[in-house]
Amino acid sequence: MLFNSIDFAIFLPVVFIFYWFITQRNLKLQNFLLVLASYIFYGWWDWRFLLLIVFSSLVDFSIGIQLGKQQNERVRKQLLWVSILVNLGFLGFFKYYNFFLENFQTAFSFFGHSIQTSSLQIILPVGISFYTFQTLSYSIDVYKKQLEPTKDLVAFLAFVSFFPQLVAGPIERATHLLPQFYRNRSFDYAKAVDGTKQMLWGFFKKIVIADNCAEFANQIFNNSAEYNGSTLLIGALFFTFQIYGDFSGYSDIAIGTARLFGFDLKQNFAFPYFSRDIAEFWRRWHISLSTWFRDYVYIPLGGSRGGLLKKVRNTFIIFIVSGFWHGANWTFIFWGFLNALYFLPLLVMKKNRNHLNSIAEDSFLPTFREFIAMFLTFLLTVFAWIFFRAENLQHAFSYVAGIINKSLFTLPTVRPSYLFLLLMFFIGVEWLGKKQQFAIQKLFAKKPKALRWSFYIFLIILVFLYSSQTEQEFIYFQF
């Protein structure tokens, strides 16, 4: 079920009413309702893949219990490996099987051997990369004794399949989300209002910004050979805002929806395009994935301990794996590699933790130095997104070559002025709210209600006027 669909517009109030009015007094029943609702939400897309979620959940639940009971370290390690192999096995099969097969074939034929293989028509289960990581984090945390294994199956199933964040995150940690299923939840007015506002801003980002940018980004990327340098640059810019609006919009709707049910999910985006260097960008972009890789891959590999070479190696591993997580294509791997390259100078010069605060923290506008740093970081990001969006590496390099020539200084042939205005409005609002969890959280908070409501109505009007006639999928569903 898509958030931006009529189905969800009916589904959400129905679940909300059942949750707060019918099952409120019984925590078990309330959790059961969430499991049921989550399975309906997921099954709306393809009920067959529900079995995969249920199986994965049951495996990790059982392993968790065994890990809690077992004292023998060797057995505990084996149990952890079972969990890792089952989860990554599913992910590997559904997401990467054909990729590895094709690349093996290419590699063998390069050395003069041809091997006969047949690729499979595999449907990628929506959200598999997200819920797999979520369940894995549970097994690892229990193994590390950072979390008591749960004996409450319903709570665990609800944790794995919690519908707001099931298909595209944020990837929640068991240590943060699971205990929320054990506690009685009471309706919190302030939280619900906050959640509603965050949902509204998420819909604005998705429908107004991402979908409208997508129209032109797709047109330019799909016909890149026909456009001049400046138009290709505009195309890359539109994709930059498309992916941000799409993904952070989804996260906002997810977090907002969860808040309506009394849950707190972690912030997933913290205004990443206002970053002053790539390290800061990665602390602000897809935070739940970055921290997952940091905690479960980077630190176990040795993290920042050891010599410079080890640090560099770990950094490259983390970025390349992160790129590969996004999809079975060399473009994603290169995108990860490119970000590692960006990160490298900061790591070597020990400047990767220079900007832990937010830009223009004590002033309305950034300093000139901050502005230049932000602008350059943004350009680096735009450049990297070209590789993320391109069909293949060849397309990406030809796209880049198309930008870097004399035609960059001619007028772009695609100039949707309405979209430039919308983007200016969007950036302005994001700038005003950059110290909050989401841009409109405290916007006009101290102003009269009439002004606040007028602003919300204005946003809804924009959502209606700039929506396309059909529902558009979220990009991150494919990951």
Binding site: I6, W20, A192, V193, I461
Partner: protein
């Protein structure tokens, strides 16, 4: 909880009221259009005795004005350029819903593309979007998956940002219509126009089921409303496609096919054509006279 729900309800009501104000913008959308024919149909102010339905061959090759003055029937041309038979069926059913049934319908067929999937013949959604202030039209768009279900509740969902600052559309020479919906082309023909003598075999496997169904539906609508349905075959600047004509003869209920006089040398002269598929003004007048004789004879 009570307070939250109260706020949500009040906010929704306020938004609902504001949304209703957008009706003015929505009706303004229709005002920007120069082709008012469908709007007249929806307003039930047509009530003609003879209708011409078809694609561009209906608009350019048949003159409702000539029929209107030379026969006892009040006539009107409701043909739309680039429209397929499904759209023509929609126009007829809409007409019958809001107006008194005509006595005669002249269905101008597109030989031999009538039932095929061709890009030049489409369901003309672009004619429907400007009339979304009519619930009937909006529902049609929703049913065909071209508009959100939300548009049944919110006027805003029927608007696009491009509608807000839209300027009045001006017709080009192919789109201009006279008061009875015709546009006989006086523009010069293509000097390189060549008569095509080859006959392309008509392949039934290319037929699209939904188009055939629409064709049958038109027959059914006419039968149910006591309308005489005539199938008009205007000339092309090529040899008459007998195979297609036979196909039509097979599926029409009564023999009311009006095909141009294939023995008339007039139709071999490129000076009477605008292009391969359309007559020019002189050609259209000549052909309309054939239709008029048929109508007068069959009274």
């Amino acid at each position: 909880m009570k307070h939250y729900l109260k706020q949500i309800v009040v906010f929704s009501l306020l938004f609902f009221l504001i949304d209703k104000c957008f009706y003015f913008q929505l009706s303004h959308k229709a005002d920007q259009e120069f082709d008012k024919r469908l709007e007249y149909v929806l307003n039930g102010i047509m009530s003609k005795e003879l209708l011409v339905l078809g694609s561009s061959r209906g608009v350019h090759d048949v003159s409702a004005r000539m029929i209107d003055s030379a026969t006892s029937f009040s006539a009107y041309n409701l043909s739309y350029r680039g429209s397929n038979v499904t759209f023509q069926e929609f126009v007829l059913s809409t007409y019958l819903k809001y107006n008194k049934a005509p006595k005669i319908v002249l269905l101008v067929v597109d030989d031999d593309a009538e039932f095929k999937e061709v890009s030049s013949l489409q369901f003309r959604y672009d004619r429907l979007y400007p009339l979304q202030n009519y619930n009937y039209i909006n529902n049609e768009l929703v049913n065909k998956g071209k508009e959100s279900v939300l548009s049944r509740i919110f006027y805003l969902a029927r608007l696009r940002h491009t509608d807000i600052f839209a300027k009045k559309n001006e017709p080009n020479e192919f789109e201009e219509l006279n008061e009875l919906g015709d546009n006989l082309l006086s523009v010069k023909n293509n000097p390189n126009l060549e008569f095509k003598a080859d006959i392309v075999a008509y392949d039934r496997s290319d037929e699209v089921k939904s188009k055939l169904e629409s064709f049958y539906k038109i027959q059914e609508l006419c039968k149910d409303n006591g309308i005489k349905l005539c199938y008009i075959f205007p000339p092309n600047f090529k040899t008459f496609n007998n195979q297609f004509c036979k196909r039509i003869e097979e599926i029409v209920e009564e023999n009311a096919i009006v095909k141009y006089n294939t023995n008339d040398e007039f139709y071999l002269n490129k000076e009477n054509f605008r292009d391969e598929s359309h007559l020019n003004k002189k050609g259209a007048e000549h052909f309309t006279n054939e239709i008029i004789s048929f109508l007068n004879k069959s009274k």
